[in-house]
């Protein structure tokens, strides 16, 4: 029987104290233990980006990180984007541009876009393509996703 490890995380501005099995990925703890199911599992090998979350402000694949590695970390998932009942500018833009088709990849796309714009508030189209290259959309909705990200970038930093 493997030893459970106590960890603490701040997720979407809430403090969590948990005991996790070392072989659980951050993705498993988010979805199964905390019921934060916006973060999706798809490929499980870091190729599709559906499980993207921000760990200490950096976009990572939560399927490639053990939950114990996130001990002490500050995490933002798609559930944490909206605040005080208001959607994030990126969420609004995704709706406005019709960037959401089946929706499965969207939480990951949003988190990748969030990271991109915090690093580079006014990216070129090419920079958006590169920043979002780790996120696949099987509906093929790339054009509208890119348009949505660019539309937020044009509005400027204050919208983020």
């Amino acid at each position: 029987m493997e030893k459970l490890i106590p960890i603490e995380m701040n997720i979407n501005n809430q403090h969590y104290k948990l005991e996790v099995s070392p072989s659980k990925r951050l993705l498993d703890v988010l979805r199964e233990d905390l019921d934060l199911t916006a973060t999706k599992e798809c490929c499980g090998i870091g190729e599709c980006g559906a499980c993207t979350v921000l760990v200490n402000g950096k976009a990572v694949n939560s399927c490639l990180m053990l939950a114990v590695e996130a001990d002490g970390a500050t995490i933002l998932t798609a559930e944490g984007l909206a605040s005080n009942g208001r959607l994030d500018a990126l969420q609004e833009a995704f709706l406005e541009k019709g960037a959401v088709q089946c929706g499965f990849c969207i939480p990951g796309q949003l988190m990748a876009a969030k990271y991109l714009l915090t690093q580079n508030p006014h990216p070129t189209r090419e920079e958006v393509e590169e920043g979002m290259a780790g996120n696949l959309c099987r509906c093929g909705g790339y054009e509208r996703i890119i348009e949505a990200v660019l539309s937020v970038a044009e509005k400027g930093e204050e919208q983020l």
Partner: protein, 287 residues
């Protein structure tokens, strides 16, 4: 994923002692972007995972000391790309670190991990070989320096002994002017493994160092000391002959799904020329 115990040493001593006792049943975790896939697929079933990220001596980042730039085992590809020392002295390493995986991967994957996994397609290997990198390994016998060209054995295998791990990679600051560039070929734009990965460095003395990967069991380093490749006025046939001898060691696998051997060998020649031109342009820019 099968069960394992998670170990998080905070000093090198602690890690060395643990690995001396349990080295055969333990795997080392830094960025985890390769390790977690192997664990998930049950390709490996270690009893212990030793996370090196909390070891103080390995948190030194990128440092310049006595003409050597050292990159510690916790430095990620994203950190490397942003680092002023690396950008100043080793631009081809920035080229390569910038194309590893996706943003999400680069935010976790470490340079040292990329080297320790010894994938023939590792994009960081060719520039590190061109820049003359050395691997600093630590084990119960102490510390030893291994030239990177002696480090790789074959796919997934290095000369590291049981219980040994890599603390850092060291690069000598070039003492003569050098232009270098890394290029690669992939199946798709964006996130993909290289079908061919190649780096060319031209020194002002006329020596050309060329390294390529993903066309054999390990990356290859070759030198041209004739001055022909570096000479922009040298006849094409003379250059082609040198390239042919440099690429003679390529032996791409027939089993790989990414590209056929014929395609890889053809692209090797295209990329060789492309990287040489870029490297020469960078050398001239410094002039």
């Amino acid at each position: 994923m099968s069960d394992f115990e998670y170990v998080r040493p905070t000093t090198i001593d602690e890690a060395v002692r643990f690995l001396a006792a349990h080295g055969t049943e333990a795997r080392i975790l830094a960025g985890g972007t390769d390790l977690l896939i192997q664990l998930r697929n049950n390709d490996i079933q270690p009893s212990f995972i030793l996370d090196v990220k909390h070891i103080r001596e390995l948190q030194t980042g990128v440092q310049l000391k006595d003409g050597l730039v050292s990159i510690s085992a916790t430095v990620t590809m994203s950190e490397l790309v942003m680092d002023p020392l690396i950008n100043r002295y080793f631009p081809a390493l920035v080229d390569a670190a910038n194309v590893v995986g996706s943003v999400q991967i680069r935010n976790r994957a470490t340079l040292v991990g990329n080297i320790c996994n010894a994938s023939p397609a590792a994009d960081s290997a060719p520039p590190l070989l061109v820049y003359g990198a050395e691997v600093v390994a630590i084990g119960s016998q102490g510390k030893r320096r291994i030239p990177l060209n002696d480090f790789f054995v074959r796919s997934g295998v290095t000369v590291l002994q049981r219980g040994e791990f890599v603390a850092s990679i060291e690069l000598p600051v070039p003492t003569t002017r050098m232009g270098a560039a890394h290029v690669r070929r992939t199946r798709r734009r964006g996130h993909d493994l290289a079908s061919v990965t190649l780096c060319c460095g031209v020194q002002e003395t006329g020596v050309v160092r060329l390294s390529y990967g993903s066309v054999g069991p390990r990356p290859v380093l070759a030198l041209d000391t004739s001055g022909i490749l570096a000479d922009e006025k040298a006849p094409e046939e003379a250059k082609t002959a040198i390239f042919e001898s440099i690429f003679a060691q390529a032996s791409p696998s027939k089993k790989s799904m990414r590209a056929s051997p014929a395609y890889r060998l053809a692209m090797l020649r295209v990329l060789g020329k492309q990287a040489l031109e870029l490297a020469l342009a960078r050398l001239n820019d410094q002039g």
